[in-house]
Assembly symmetry: D2
Homo-oligomer: 258 residues x 4
């Protein structure tokens, strides 16, 4: 599938500061960036590797005026979409060092609290079949309610509250999958099927020695997503972090099949 991505961001910046940007489609397994243009206006960039070596991030030195960014890319998504239910679990003792951290809790994902629930609710299933059952459970049990969570909402609140947006679905996915002793990480992505169009958050699970995309909101298939960045949870994949207050003027994200 070929996808065209258009992003236009405009923020007002009160004082000179630094920003951390993660909006470029990653050059990573399962997708090819055919072309891209990034216009950062007056911001001074330094480019670094993303978490776990996936994609790149940009440090931006911002003079104290408007931050205007436009990004356009054409991405060929060519990943194989495995039947999740058929994928085998990787035994713990074969999980490599760079994957093992994704077994553990994080700022928003107190996965340690879900071991009993996951063990009982999804008993009798292993590996991909267990992940698929968790995914289905989350999609069924949560309601997608814009505005129902904020930057403080953790997964204990989401699990009780049964509401959220894509970040909350992905947080609960990561938490329950980790509680099942399967590595899971958070992914920022673009997807033409995201409604309404915006930056999207999904999960990746480690099965059969590879990462597999899973969208618990049910919006996007694994081959309908262009990965931007990965990390332990929402804090690690923010599209924009700044070290001084900034004010949103406008932001448009638009991904479409082409």
């Amino acid at each position: 599938m070929r996808m065209t991505i258009d992003v236009a961001m405009h923020y007002r910046v009160a004082e000179p500061t630094t920003a951390f940007l993660a909006i470029e489609a990653a050059r990573t397994e399962g997708q090819v960036v055919l072309s891209e243009t990034l216009d950062l206006g007056t911001a001074q960039p330094s480019r670094i590797a993303g978490d776990s070596g996936v994609g790149e991030r940009l440090w931006l030195q911002l003079p104290g005026d408007d931050l205007r960014i436009t990004y356009r890319a054409e991405v060929e998504v060519n990943r194989q979409v495995a039947g999740l239910g058929q994928l085998a679990a990787v035994p713990l003792h074969r999980i490599p060092g760079d994957v093992a951290p994704y077994l553990r809790p994080s700022r928003y994902c107190q996965s340690d609290k879900f071991v009993t629930f996951v063990g009982r609710q999804f008993a009798g299933r292993e590996g991909g079949a267990k992940v698929a059952a968790i995914r289905d459970w989350i999609e069924r049990e949560l309601s997608y309610v814009p505005g129902s969570s904020d930057a403080d909402t953790n997964v204990l609140e989401t699990f009780a509250g049964r509401q959220g947006v894509c970040r909350d679905y992905a947080h609960l996915m990561c938490s329950m999958v980790r509680a099942a002793s399967i590595p899971a990480r958070m992914v920022a992505a673009y997807g033409p099927d995201v409604t309404p169009q915006d930056f999207h958050a999904v999960a990746q699970v480690w099965l059969e020695d590879g990462w597999h995309l899973v969208d618990a909101t049910g919006m996007c298939a694994a081959d309908g997503l262009a990965v931007i960045a990965v990390g332990r949870d929402a804090y690690d994949i923010a599209f924009l972090d700044t070290w001084a207050p900034v004010e949103l003027v406008s932001q448009e994200v638009y991904a479409r099949r082409t």
Copy 2:
């Protein structure tokens, strides 16, 4: 039902301090204290009314040595045990001023987080039928695991963790019932059917203009409980609070049918 209660407590107190004691069976609706003796050793008591006027509590001024308390009481429990499922809800606008606070969240019971879950999971039921369904759900979903919670465990952790002891069952009961817009409070009680014997915690729900005892652990029927104290959650019904560290030497609680 007639119940005999025997309590023997022995604590070591490092320095002169104050303690707050709630161990006497309350002279309250549905139970009659036929006889009782309370031996406080060298502690100096002052007697005050319990929360919501249920029972009494004792302030104890402790000299800095051993605190030894023995309590014996014979209690006639004569409350009517209503069929919970038949009890009607009280419309919100008829909930009196001294009951209304029990609609609200408390230290351990973030009942505000459960509104969506309770609304959906127990849809179509009202009043006592809804309370009964919540009670059954909690008994089925939680595992009684001694040591699985501590004085910091709140109900969001219990709901995710699916484990607890009587305080956690009662906290979840209070939280979900409040989320259903029905007043619920925490109750400390004695019960001959508590296993192993100890101070017990259950819930009371406000239906048909009265408080009704509900034990989500399934251990005790409403007419097998002698109420000691009530409050918003575990903090309000502690059998012993002290204002300096004390060390447990021994404690025995024993309630039996007589």
Copy 3:
């Protein structure tokens, strides 16, 4: 001091529901309601006593249309303003049953966590002098930042974050004072010196066998406040609770010396 209070509220109510209203100046110690008018539009009220018997609250049955409320009152505030620093602590064993609950933690006020800090930071002071030192510390250490907290913000976050609005100042006041073994409760009030004009939240502390108002924001003196309601924390003193979503159209609160 004589105060005139004007409140005008306009909410849009999507469906028939119930609301809980606490906006009337209480007929309580230290203030006399000289005159008042309350217009509830089409809402059907039932009147009940407020928490701890302070003031009254109204249950409102709302038809599914606009909720318009206007309230006007003239209040004579005649409470003696004691020099806080001179007020003696009440020994624990003389704290009465209806005051003792205000020694304990609540939904937003994990006062149990502050015992060590308060013991050390305010060592050597007792009673009112300790309360005054706590008040000064809070006013100095916190910044008043509108929008820096929300309905989920608890006092651990406020203490670390060092920002908040009146509710957060009062929460921290209640938490630290309780940690000093002095009863403290949350108070909703009107005050001509509140800037900008709105419902205000302050604390009341129990010293010398009475409740004394303390405003950690520094905006209002005890004799510049008309008490509406009291409770354990913000949940207990909300001016408006509703059982279905409502949308704010406009709200004006205006208190002035007259």
Copy 4:
């Protein structure tokens, strides 16, 4: 400085399970492992890289009987101990991709909550001078109280509670330093000056393009520590994780200068 480390662990394992072990002194900057022996008894190991490539961890497949581990190593610690106060901060835009995650919050370290406090309390200092001031503040403000925290204690509770053990000191250090926009990570280490002898937790801060050890408990100097593992917080540096309950029989950790 040369250090000899002796560890003897004995756990009872109820059923066959997997464990994750981090007890070997890392072959990393500033220390040389001169000799080591590791006896894992009947456990089957697989060796992987530690978080951020520091040291190695072992997956152990445990048969369901006793887990007995002995580890002995001789380590030459040869790191330069910089004067912390003289080290310059690294500008944000020069922080590399593998260091940037250590600017962010984690399971136990809600560093995002401390930005205002740290900004104000340590104003006027930068880089190492700021880190040193934070370290001194933590050592002064916290009391080292064994048993005052558990595996659930997060840094908001530690900051309010003012008590903890080495993990809590290191968590607060990481949180405040991250809040100052300086990368900080958690380190498990051995140290002859740890009292009483046990696995120790300290922080590492990123200054002048390198990681520098800081022990907020004041027990150990940077050249008195042998690093085992690093990570975002306590969850990442546990010396032993198991996937089924195990029972401690005995554990001895002993590091001494030789």
